[in-house]
Each structure stands twice: as C-alpha cells, then as structure tokens.
C-alpha cells in the first residue's frame, strides 16, 4: 500500500489533460483494489493565465497562479509535484526555487520514456505549443542527452498544431485528430524516428483516431510513469 506518499498534481492547464493524467496514473498503477492506488491531490485551476500568451505575446505572467497551486499542494501534505502541462515548465526553475517539494520535470519523464521505447539518441520530432517550442524546453534538455530535435515549421504551427490544441481545450477533441496526425506525420517524413507529444492536449487529440504508424512519446503517460516511480520508490 502506498500509504505515506501523496502526489501533488498542479493541473487545470488544461483541465481535460489533467483529468486524463489522473486516469493514466490510475491505469498504469498495478492494483487489485482502491487501497493499492496512489493517493493524490489534483489542484485543477484553469484560471492560470495562458502560458504561451505570456511568453510570446506579452500576456499576464502565470507564475503567481502557479505558486498559489504549489502552496495549496504543500498545505495538503503532498510529497512531490507533477505538472501535466509542458508549457508551464518554462517556469520550472522559479517554481522549484519556491518549494522544498521535488517537482518531476516532464521533459526528463519524456526522455525516460524515449529510452523505454529503445530510442537513446538520434532525431526526435517534438510537437508542442508555440510557447514550449519558443522557450526551447525540449530542444535544450534533449540535446543535453544526445538527441536532435525537429519541430513543426511556423506554417504547420499556425495551420495545424495551435488550432488543434485550442480545440481540445474547447472540448472538441475529435476535431483535433486530423491536424495533429498531419503535423506528426510531417515530422516523421522529415526524419524523426519518434515524435514527442509535448503538450498534454495533444495525446487527447491523437487518442481520438487510429494510432500513428511510428513511435510516439505520450507525455501524459511519461509523467504518470515518473510519478508512479516516485510513489513506489
């Protein structure tokens, strides 16, 4: 029984992705009954200012809202924090500096998942929000592990990825499949041996249609696996 370790989940960015994170956390935990599962508190605050708008369009800074959530998870007695929003990791250092609790980094979780898939170097496609790509969250952290990153070009972002992410946030999940599958297929055609679904809305859209015919790293599953490893460790 996972008696003493309670996971904190800083979510709501978006709320469907964080609900799905809780499902994946549960489904990936070996369990025979309720009491075998991992205790967790999900702080689902969709009012956090838009992370991409803050980074590339002069929008309101989300840090104060992120820190309110972290303080809430600390007060609840959590022992570590997972954040099922890739773009929010642009504020990782400031969040980690503000709490004694370890924050599980979603890019490290993705790298561990690529290794689990047997992919330990080479060219990786990365899909994400315009904010995540502009902050080079994956490009820098994966380069340090020996991967090269390919990302969608600006036209693909504007026509495919950005509107598809917005559709998921507006509950129009099925409509997000085709543009996301197109963008991922373009990355594979350009030489990516695997594609990281590096925005937590993207796996929801991709799950709404047939599986892609190349390896994908689902950052919801990757972060859930990292959280389970923490809880069991």
């Amino acid at each position: 029984m996972n008696g003493s370790k309670m996971l904190g989940v800083l979510g709501g960015m978006g709320p469907l992705a964080s609900a799905e994170f809780m499902r994946r956390l549960t489904l990936l935990t070996p369990a025979e009954r309720d009491q075998d599962h991992i205790p967790a508190v999900l702080w689902s605050d969709p009012r956090v200012p838009d992370r991409t708008a803050a980074r590339i369009a002069g929008g309101e800074d989300p840090l104060a809202a992120l820190l309110r959530g972290i303080a809430g998870l600390e007060a609840a007695g959590c022992g570590a924090i997972a954040i099922p929003c890739n773009t929010a990791h642009g504020w990782f250092d400031a969040m980690q500096a503000a709490t004694p609790l370890p924050i599980l980094h979603i890019v490290d979780a993705a790298a561990a998942d690529l290794a689990r898939l047997g992919i330990v170097r080479g060219t990786i496609g990365v899909m994400g929000t315009a904010g995540t790509l502009a902050m080079r969250l994956y490009q820098q952290r994966l380069a340090a592990r020996g991967y090269d990153c390919l990302v969608p070009d600006e036209a693909e972002m504007e026509a495919l990825v950005t509107p598809a992410i917005a559709r998921v946030k507006a509950n129009a999940v099925a409509a997000a499949y085709a543009p996301l599958a197109d963008a991922a297929t373009h990355l594979a055609a350009r030489g990516a041996q695997a594609v990281v679904l590096g925005c937590t809305e993207i796996p929801l859209g991709i799950a709404a249609g047939p599986p892609l015919p190349f390896p994908v790293c689902d950052t919801l599953d990757a972060l859930a696996r990292a959280a389970i490893a923490w809880a069991r460790g």
Copy 2:
C-alpha cells in the same frame, strides 16, 4: 469566467471513477478555452477504508478518513463538495454536520437526471454496491420522490455486480462490461423503465461496450451536472 467558485471533489473511491468524474465535469462544461472551465480540487485518497466492508462486514469505519479529505478541501478554499462515490453517501449526514460547505448529494443528482430524461415516477432499477443497497440510499430517497426501486437479487449481486465493481477498481475495466450489462438487462426485464448506475465504477464498465437498449442514469454525469449547476449558479 468561473472566477470565484472552486469545487471540492472528495474522491479516490475509487480513483479511476474520480478521475473520470473530473473528465465528465470538464466535457459537460461549455467552454472555449482553459479559463472558461470550473476550478476544482480533487482529493483522491484511495486509502479510505472500504465503505461496503464497513457497513456489512464489520470493517473499519471510513468516517475519519472522509472528514480528513473534507478538511483538506475546506483548507484549499473550496465552496462546495461533490463525492463521486455512492456508498460514501451512507455517511452523508455525519459529513454534512462536520462542514459548513454544502455537499451535493449524488442521489438527488441522480433524481434530477431521471427528470431530465423525462422519467418522473414509476419503477426504476438501481445497481450499486452491496453497501449502497443494504443502506437503502436510493430506495428511501427515490421513494420520497414517487419512484419505486428494483435492485438486483443476492445471486446477481454475488455473481455479477460485486465482482464487476472489483474489476474496475483493479483496472480491468473491459472485463466489467458483460456482467454489468447482464445485471442491468435483468432489471429492465423485471420492469424497470430506467436503470441507475448507482456506483461510480459501473459507468466505467458500461462505457467499455455497446450502449444499453434502455435509459440509464449515469451517476458520474449526474453529479457533474449538479456541480456545474452549482458553479454557474
């Protein structure tokens, strides 16, 4: 924007059902972007002692664990509490006496959903845990609204409903469909004009196969609709 009202969700009973409740809450909320969704805190504590075992087999009383969760949701600043576990409502009065926050009663939410389906009196089938049925949570509260309740017999509970609920809690969701569909079909054949899925694991199992050919009241959706009405009200 749902700025000021934060929903508290006392969950983990089981954790897959409460994660699915958060998904339903999101999908049933009209929204165009993250900031349109309802702020919520999910306290997912699967360590709460088994509710049915406490009521019918002399197991540990869950009330202390339930009250710890409610205190955590109060401290987080929530304005109301939803509990996506039918059996836990056997402790409703004690929980409501311990908090100034309104607790949305899942049986009232189910009754509102029956009315939404156009069913305002008559014979209703109710599936639930052995604890929920033994406590007569639905039988009493629906009788007061003019419904008669039919429930599975003991043989159906032992062979079909109880093991299916356990399968969902052990992540074997697909294996729960057939026994749950059988039990529901028996209730319809005995004259139920609709069947209440009165344990939050049951809608997960039923969603794993073809839709049932008679009206069902899904208590996850019903409670989500009640929570949205509270948040918007």
